[in-house]
Symmetry: C2
Subunit: 320 residues, 2 copies
Amino acid sequence: MAVYTEVSDEELEEFVAGYDLGAVVSCKGIAEGVENSNFLLQTETGTFILTLYEKRVDPDDLPFFIGLMEHLAQRGLACPTPIHGRDGRALRELCGRPAAIVTFLQGMWPRRVAVEHCAQLGEVMARMHLAGADYPLVRPNNLSVAGWRPLLAASAHGADDVKPGLGEYLEAELEEIEEGWPADLPSGVIHADLFPDNVFFLGKQISGIIDFYFACTDAFAYDIGICLNAWCFEPDGSFNITKARSMLSAYRRVRPITDEELRALPLLARGAAMRFLLTRLYDWLHTPPGAYVKRKDPLEYLHKLRFHQGLSGPGAYGLD
Amino acid sequence: MAVYTEVSDEELEEFVAGYDLGAVVSCKGIAEGVENSNFLLQTETGTFILTLYEKRVDPDDLPFFIGLMEHLAQRGLACPTPIHGRDGRALRELCGRPAAIVTFLQGMWPRRVAVEHCAQLGEVMARMHLAGADYPLVRPNNLSVAGWRPLLAASAHGADDVKPGLGEYLEAELEEIEEGWPADLPSGVIHADLFPDNVFFLGKQISGIIDFYFACTDAFAYDIGICLNAWCFEPDGSFNITKARSMLSAYRRVRPITDEELRALPLLARGAAMRFLLTRLYDWLHTPPGAYVKRKDPLEYLHKLRFHQGLSGPGAYGLD
């Protein structure tokens, strides 16, 4: 649940006057997303999303994110397209914050993930990886393996309150992941946060991918690992191999997965589980009780981490 | 900040299929309002507001509210018009809650109230009072004078923690208000919650009035008293007599204010201040600290209550 910044009607009108969008007709704060303030903006010419970037987003990263959406949209990927102001800039300022207007995408994210959703996701994720290949900017993934030890250290004091023995378990697990972490896998731009609520569907077709604010340059297969965690576990915790197979098969039809990537997949998925476990644990321990933010359960990802840890190979993901 | 109920895409599609609105194209929770869950719904045929009525609204009152919006809209007042399902019903059910779809109104509510806003408000409020004259349903105002003593009793234990001496002051003040409360003033349907965030403007023109979920049958002048409090005080606490005069003059041009109403106005405004002070005080003392609701400061209304208490007559509102 979001909207942190209240934008006055006067400030908004002045801001929108800097674009060729006509006058503001309506603007409503959206109760989704937790990182930024998002508004559904209607002007005389159409519907848009207005985003004010709050303090969890580093302003230095914004040109990478905005430029990436523009790059991918130009290559036909359904994602928000940044709108340029009369001054040519897509990244501007409102209420003392960096702000951007992007196109509005139709569709809804799936509350209950079906096999067909996973197949669509695999295909579009692969197309996104290919479309980003010639994106000139680079952004290191500061939430990959090198970032996890400091994150764990920042939460070590409270880990055992969340679950007895959790601190020690994560310490040992992290050591194994660090040792085995693969180098030199095929890399490029990855989304790095491709959860169901960032993927819109109209019927069973993907109508858009949103929220590129964790996008970075990293191994493509790590993006796949994130999606195995986010899309292929059932609410009861069981792993749905049919969903995984559909996602991976559809992905492969667009961009072949190398043998090296396949072999690395269990460890990458394990690392992806570690990443979300650690950020959720950090937020769990550092969010003041009165804050207007719903905290996500870190232990959901402990369960996923253990699943991948117990695998002997990528066959468990339904691949031949 | 709202949206309490998460609606799945499947439930939503099935619900909307009960209307002649075409398929769902998008649905976003709106981060405004605290009583209900509101969504901005786009279908193939247009933009609408979907509301799920949460537990603070009595289901038995919903036919009054829904019927009133329909009645007023038919008489040309800019307010949401309930959409009827194929079965003829405007009040239906979604996710186990009463739910309705109403038309979407363009416009934005004024964050900084100007004199012109107050003049527009006076005119449209008077038109609303006239348009409601032949509305056949009746709903007693359970938040008028008879409801204040039980509200005060429910907060008496904590009033002095909010401000020392507050409990005793309110007790004495309530006694005076009860004694002087006028009977037999011109009555009909009033909005009873006509704060700036319930009034949309396009430029300086009102484009719509929303949120009729406190509407009831009561003295018209009590609605005026509520608006004097909600629109005519500056952020620094000073009373802006120019705003009050503009509002009342514009109101009178549409519906004359009787001498009896005029004389009663200071006490009605005082009562209106008491009403919002008491509900805010109640919420202040009874909202758990972790709740996703922003509590409003009750003492803002103590200041307004004292202002009206000190008046010798309605001249302070700028009337001749």
